[in-house]
Structure formats: C-alpha cells, structure tokens
C-alpha cells in the first residue's frame, strides 16, 4: 500500500515513466524562476569558518576546513592554493566530487585539485551532503544499488539533496570571495561524474559561476529511472549560456551513455559550448584531456 501511495503521489506530480521529456522541451522561464526560489539561501548566516588542519605538498597548501552553509548544516571541504600566492585577487574553481564514499577525498578529486592549484587557481572541494565527512544513516555501503535505492531514484530525497547542494555551492562561492579574497567574477565550477550532474544544475541556477566544466557527467546515469523536473539537468544546462560550457565524456562510458545521457544533454546546451570525446569508459579525464581542460579554463577564466 505504501508503494502504491508513493506511485500515486509521483503520478500526481506528473512524473513520467522515463524522465526524458525535458530533454526535448526544458521548462519555461516562469517555472525555472520558481525553482530558483527554492535554491535561495541566506547570505547573512555567519560562515563560522574553521580550519581543521593544513598540509603542504609539492608547493600546494591544502586547508581542511568546515563552514556553515545553511542554518545547522556544516560543509566539510578542502581548500587548495599554491603556497606563495601574490596579493592580486585570484581566480578560483569549485570542484564537485563524484558519487564515491570518500567524497572530496576520492583519488580523482585529489589529483585534479592540486593540478588546478599549481596552474594558479584557488580550489575549493566541498563534500556533497551524505558523502565524505558528511556521512549519515542514509548511505552506508555506498554501493550503486544503495545510492540508487535511497537517493538517486528517490525523487523527493534527490531533489532535497540537489537543493542543498545548490546552496552549498553558492555558499562556497561566497566563502571564496569573502574569506579568501577571490575575484567574484572569476570563479568557475568543475564537476566529476555525479558532481558534473550537480554542477550542471548549480551552474544554471547560480549565474555568478563564470565557466562550467562537466567531466563524465550527463542527463542521468544508466541506473537512474526518474527525477523531478527541478532536479533534471536538461532544465538547467541550456541556461548556462552565455557563460562557457565544456563537457568531457567517454564514448564507451556505460554509466553516462553517449547516445542516451550525454549527446541529448549537450544538444540542449547553448553556445558557447564544446564537447571532447575520449576513447574511454567512465573514468577520470585522461592526461591529454586534463591538459585540454586546463587550457580551456585558462582561456575562459582569465
């Protein structure tokens, strides 16, 4: 009976069997504006920034920090910067991790963040809610099955997660500007896998993000069935323009399938946009594409 009731609720909410209608026709501006109301957050909440520890490695300083995002919700994050940064206002990147249990401390993030830092950006890598140092009872094994059963395929829980993530990223941006002297016009967002899905939504919602790179993301992964329209990348990615968008994807990716999940999403994106295809499955960007990404970021976050 519970399942039937849930199914009825979803039916009432107009959730289709396959959540791809917005790939064909994204929601209009009026509906989009309503979404933005739910992503709004209070900038007056004190950050209560805490530096938990600091580590220097090969010229890059990593500060392990936490800050208050919304009332009672604390974000754990790493903040990377080259040790000898000058007094000029730097550019920065917010890097969103994929769906691994380790969150921001996953290998890909730990490789990309110092790479970006050495290239001159400050890099903030927040843990997304339920991941890394923000664990909860919701996810414990972090198996694909569990993540899909409890989060990605639970439309209301997923939308609440997306909403919190949007606020967390906007607060990350504020933190970089207000606490680390970053130029507010030169902050980009880079997302990896699940973090790329989140980034496509956040970038559509927070217009201050100046450049957007989505690594191995897409409309949804192969195990996802549905999401509410407010959590659908298709309703956001077209709104990133006129800010530049770069997508890097693998043609053999079995999670974010080229023809189903990636190409249709790229298709709803607007200019300036670019996509790089790698001869890979679902993985971290190749060295060649890391170099291309750095080059693209240099050109677009001058």
């Amino acid at each position: 009976m519970k399942r039937r009731a849930l199914a009825t609720t979803l039916l009432l909410l107009g959730l289709p069997a396959a959540a791809d209608q917005w790939l064909t026709k994204p929601v209009d501006d009026r509906t989009f504006k309503t979404y933005l109301d739910f992503f709004a957050y209070n900038r007056q909440v004190p950050f209560d920034l805490r530096v938990l520890d600091t580590e220097d490695q090969q010229g890059v300083r990593r500060e392990h920090v936490s800050f208050l995002s919304t009332p009672g919700v604390r974000v754990l994050a790493n903040l990377y910067a080259t040790a000898g940064q000058g007094p000029q206002k730097a550019a920065a990147l917010i890097l969103l991790h994929g769906g691994g249990a380790l969150g921001k401390d996953a290998p890909t993030t730990k490789v990309l963040a110092p790479l970006f830092a050495r290239a001159g950006w400050s890099v903030l890598t927040p843990d997304l809610q339920y991941f890394g140092e923000r664990p909860s009872d919701l996810l414990t094994t972090f198996s694909e099955q569990e993540k899909h059963d409890r989060l990605y395929n639970q439309p209301p829980v997923y939308l609440a997660w997306i909403t919190q993530s949007a606020k967390d990223v906007s607060r990350s941006l504020d933190l970089l500007v207000e606490q680390r002297g970053v130029d507010p016009k030169r902050i980009g967002v880079v997302g990896m896998s699940r973090g790329a899905i989140v980034a496509s939504i956040v970038a559509g919602a927070d217009r201050r993000l100046a450049a957007v790179a989505l690594l191995y993301g897409g409309h949804f992964d192969a195990l996802e069935r549905d999401h509410l329209p407010a959590a659908c990348p298709a309703n956001y990615v077209g709104r990133i323009s006129p800010r530049p968008l770069l997508m890097i994807n693998g043609i053999h990716d079995a999670d974010m399938i080229k023809d189903r999940a990636v190409a249709p999403l790229f298709n709803v994106a607007r200019q300036p946009k670019r996509i790089l295809w790698a001869e890979t499955g679902h993985q971290a960007p190749t060295e060649e594409h890391q170099a291309a990404l750095l080059q693209w970021l240099r050109e677009n976050l001058k």
Binding site: R3, T31, F38, R43, G72, V157, L159, P184
Partner: protein, 298 residues
C-alpha cells in the same frame, strides 16, 4: 553582495501582498508540490521516549524520522481505552520556544484525546526539542530576524514542515491505528500559517482548523510566493475549513492579515470571530472546534 540580498528582500516585501490579489496558477502550485514531496519508504524509526497517563488519556513522548537524518519530536495523546481505529488530529503549535509543550497545544491534546481521538502534536523544526543555534532567545525580534523575515530560510522551514506533516499522517495511520480517511490538522498562530500551506499541499488531510492565524504577522516584511498562505488557502477546498480569529488581534490584524486571506478560502468553510486579541482559544472556543471536527470527520 549585500545589495543582491537587499533586492531579494525588497522584492519580497514589495510584493508580499500580490498573491492575496492573485494567487499563483495551478502549474506553479504543482512546481511547489515537487519540492514538498517526501519519500514514504524511508523508515519512520519510531522511538518511544516515555509514556504517562492522566485522566484517562495516555501521552506518549516519541520521535520519528521525517526525512533523511531529520527527527521529529512529538507527543501522541490517545484515550487509554481505545481499541478501534480512531479519527486523529495533527496539532501544529505556535511560535513559542517550548513548541508542542505549550499550554494551548497540551490543552487541545488532552481535550481531543478524552473524546476518543488520537492526537499527534509535533515540534516544528527549530522549536521545542528541535531547538538549534538558529533560535536561542525566541524573542519576536530574533524569530523575525533569523527565520520569519529571511525568505529563503523561511521557505526551507515551511518545506520541512509540510514534509513533517505528511510523515506525521503516515505515522498515525501506520503505527497508531488512526483511520487514514479521518485525519485532521489543527494549527495555532504560527502553526496556523504553516497549517494553511501544509493542508493545501497534503490532500489526505480530511479537515482543517486554523486558529488565530492569517496571511502574515504585523511585523513580517514579506515572503517568497511558495511560502505564502494566499497561494494555498483556496486549495484546501473541497475539504472543510474552520477559521477562528480575534477582532482585536494585533499580531494578525483583522483588516490586513486575516480578512484578505479568508476572502481566498473556498467552500466548505466557516469563520468564527471572537472579541479578543491574539489569544489561546478558551474552553468555549475549544468546544466549538471539537463540535466542528466531529461533524466534519464523521
């Protein structure tokens, strides 16, 4: 950056009344419902903290999981002798620090349970046993500065409350032998403001009582449209609605906060005016509510 925030507040305050004139359309309302949806498969993890008995009424002090990681504390009142499925009422308290433990809420809990109802009085987020750093003194000034007049924080609070009410309804039906077709909502003061929204969003609620509520208090500056009772009150119909208000209420002034909202309510509805200020319903008023609930939840 502060300017952007000021703009947001300005927009909210300049237009707080616009939805009284013209509530949002069904398409926008449906978008709100998407944000208020919750996962019914999430375990309730009901915990009974203690049980007491008084004058034939048992009161369970309990907590349950509403949304992932968010626990609601509540009192469940029921007649000691109840064996059959009962009708039930969800109580939403006003803006006092003690939340569900406030005198008005306790009086309603005992009165209704004595008459054979199951009654679940939940703490709203930030109140009672769900106290946080956000509110500490619970002065009107603090509540206004940090919650009621912070449109984004307020909307998140409203959204959590709607979910909490949906889960309270699930709990009553699944765990406390309530007849799912006969569960009503009764909100007092701030709980009435939130109750207006929850009642429109949660269509399983069979009857709605708004006691000393309104569109917003005299010292509220504005809110986002998704948190505006004007966009919800007309959507409670065809379920019956009872509103009680005081003609001298300075918190929810009759002409600016109450009448314009009542005007949007649709039938079946009933309004009872009393010659009082912002008050707790007295025994006589409680009796009117009980009589109305009995008739509405037959």
């Amino acid at each position: 950056m502060k300017r952007a925030l000021a703009c947001l507040l300005l927009a909210a305050s300049a237009f707080a009344g616009q939805w009284l004139a013209k509530p949002v359309d069904d398409r926008t309302f449906k978008t709100y419902l998407g944000f208020f949806a919750y996962d019914r498969q999430l375990p309730l993890e009901l915990k009974i903290l203690d049980v007491s008995e008084q004058d034939g009424v048992a009161r369970e002090h309990l907590s349950f999981q509403s949304t992932p990681g968010v626990r609601v504390f509540a009192y469940f009142y029921r007649p000691v002798a109840a064996l059959k499925r009962t009708p039930a009422v969800i109580l939403l308290h006003g803006g006092g620090a003690v939340g569900k433990a406030g005198a008005t809420t306790q009086a309603f809990g005992l009165t209704l349970a004595r008459l054979g109802w199951g009654v679940l009085a939940i703490d709203l987020q930030y109140f009672g046993e769900r106290s946080t750093d956000l509110l500490s003194t619970y002065t009107e000034q603090e509540k206004g500065d940090r919650l009621y007049n912070q449109p984004s924080v307020y909307l998140a609070w409203v959204g959590q409350t709607v979910k909490d009410v949906g889960r309270a309804l699930d709990l009553l039906a699944a765990e406390r032998n309530a007849d799912p077709g006969r569960i009503a909502l009764l909100g007092s003061s701030r709980g009435a403001v939130l109750g207006t929204i929850a009642a429109a969003a949660e269509r399983r609620l069979a009857a709605v009582v708004l006691s000393y509520g309104g569109h917003m208090t005299a010292w509220e500056k504005g809110h986002l449209p998704a948190a505006c009772p004007a966009n919800y009150i007309g959507r409670i119909s065809p379920r019956p609605l009872l509103m009680l208000n005081g003609t001298q209420d300075a918190t929810f002034p009759r002409d600016t906060a109450v009448l314009p909202l009542h005007k949007l309510a649709k039938n079946p509805q009933q309004t009872l005016w009393f010659d009082t200020g912002h008050a707790a319903p007295n025994e006589e008023q409680r009796a009117s509510i009980v009589k109305w609930l009995r008739e509405s939840l037959k």
